[in-house]
Each structure stands twice: as C-alpha cells, then as structure tokens.
Symmetry: C2
C-alpha cells in the first residue's frame, strides 16, 4: 500500500474513534464494562498514545508525550491533539521510507518494515475501537456511526 | 499485498476469534452487554457468515449457507465449519484475481478490486472480535489471548 492509502485507511478508522470519544460524557470517563477492563478514559488514551508511538517509529520521529497534562482532560480534545500530531507524523513519511526496517524489538520482539508497523497501528485502532463500541452501547448510546468512515 | 499475505493476515485474527468462540459456555450464548447489542451467538454467526460471503465474492464463488443447521449449534463447531470453508475459498483465489473488480454495490454501493474486498473482510473481523473481547471479560474470562496471533 502507498503512504496515501495507509494514511487514508488509518483515518477512516480514527475519525470514527474521535466521533465516539466526543460522545462520551465526562461523568462516564471511569466507566468500565468489567472489573478487568480498561475504563473508557484509559482505553481512549491507550489508543491515542499507541498509534502515535507506532507512526512516530515508522517515521523515525519522537512520539508526542503530553506528560503532566494527561491527568485531567477532556477526552475529545485529548483525542484531537493526538490525532493532529499523528497526521503530522504521517506527513513526515516518505514512500521509500515505508520499506525501511524499524527496530520494534522492545514492543514486538522483531524488526519490521515501516509499512508493517503502520498496518499494526491500523489493526490496533480497529481492535480497540471495536471494544469502544460496546462501551458506548452499554452507556446507552444506540445511534452509533458505522465502524469505518466510507 | 499478495494472496498469501492477505490469507495469513486474515487467519492471524480468525484463529483468535475461534479461540474466543470455544471459550464461551453454551449457557452464555444469549449473553449481550446492552439491550441494543447482538448476543454472543448472533455476533459470532455474523462474523462467520460475513467473512465467508466477502471471501466468496472475492473468489467469484458461492458463499456457504448452513441453512436449517444454523438453529441449534455448538458455536466452536459452527466457527470451525465456516473457517474451513473460508480457508478453501482463499485457496481458490489467484494472484491475478486480486485486481479483478468485484460488484459489491448491494453491500457497499460500489465495485472494488478483490484485494480490497478481502481487506474489508479483515477489518470487519478485527472490529467484531474487538466487540467479542469485551463480551468475554464481562462473562468473567480474564485470561484472554492477544488480539492477534503472532
């Protein structure tokens, strides 16, 4: 897949994640479906940070770290901040760079080409967005978007 | 992506779906996390049938229809039956056929190359498997596999 195809595919899912994040009222940020689940705030932060790290690695750049500011947030704004940063990282990618081997031994125990790191970021986003859809139904939201923007 | 890469990617997720399906006790088949959710049996059947239809379309073949037998099932066996059929359909695909335009107007309102139909099948599988993970945590299972077989 070309850089543009990968970018479009990622954001066809991320746009839906952000729509879901913006639907969640602040008083439901601590909601979790089961004792062993991440709460909705932790889940969305995990999605935002993971994707940013993956795409930063693929682009050979430093991932965003909001540090202190992560303590008290509006999740929709938080998601938008990370998404803007991830858009910028995608724009740093070059077509040739997609085949460059990236050292992902710390996370995946292997080196892999940059395009594969991006594909993993997309799958990770879809997986946890699939979690998030269930959270929203349980919160009582039943007018939900399609799982991918078409 | 080559046919082999697409096949490997699909089954890296389907294997996990089947592992989850085999963990669910029969008395939890009707479990649903929210009033508007699919119950676990409906969700797994939806995953199995959809993927089979997508890959059949991509291969220019007829999808499996278990018909009557769908009424009372063991979900693990049901998943395996559909998975075996989907493996056989993948084996019908040819490398050249991946670029062939498939008429998906009834489902997606557009024609698209076969490889894109397969990519949609993979995303659909990951999305609903993401749903399923939440179902299993809510049923009390907390020793869950990674979301993708590595």
């Amino acid at each position: 897949m070309s850089k543009e195809t990968l970018k479009q595919k990622f954001f066809a899912h991320r746009d839906v994640t952000n729509e879901l994040a913006s639907m969640i009222n602040q008083d439901r940020y601590s909601f979790k479906p089961a004792e062993t689940s991440m709460d909705s705030e932790t889940l969305i932060k995990h999605m935002m940070k993971s994707a940013n790290i993956f795409i930063a690695f693929a682009a050979g750049k430093q991932p965003l770290d909001l540090g202190e500011k992560e303590q008290a947030v509006n999740l929709a704004e938080y998601a938008q901040t990370y998404t803007d940063e991830t858009i910028a990282l995608f724009d740093e990618l070059t077509e040739d760079g997609l085949d460059e081997l990236i050292d992902m031994t710390e996370i995946f125990g292997a080196k892999m080409p940059a395009h594969q790191v991006i594909e993993l970021a997309i799958d990770h986003e879809i997986h946890h967005k699939g979690n998030l859809f269930v959270y929203l139904r349980m919160m009582g939201y039943d007018e939900l978007p399609l799982y991918v923007r078409t």
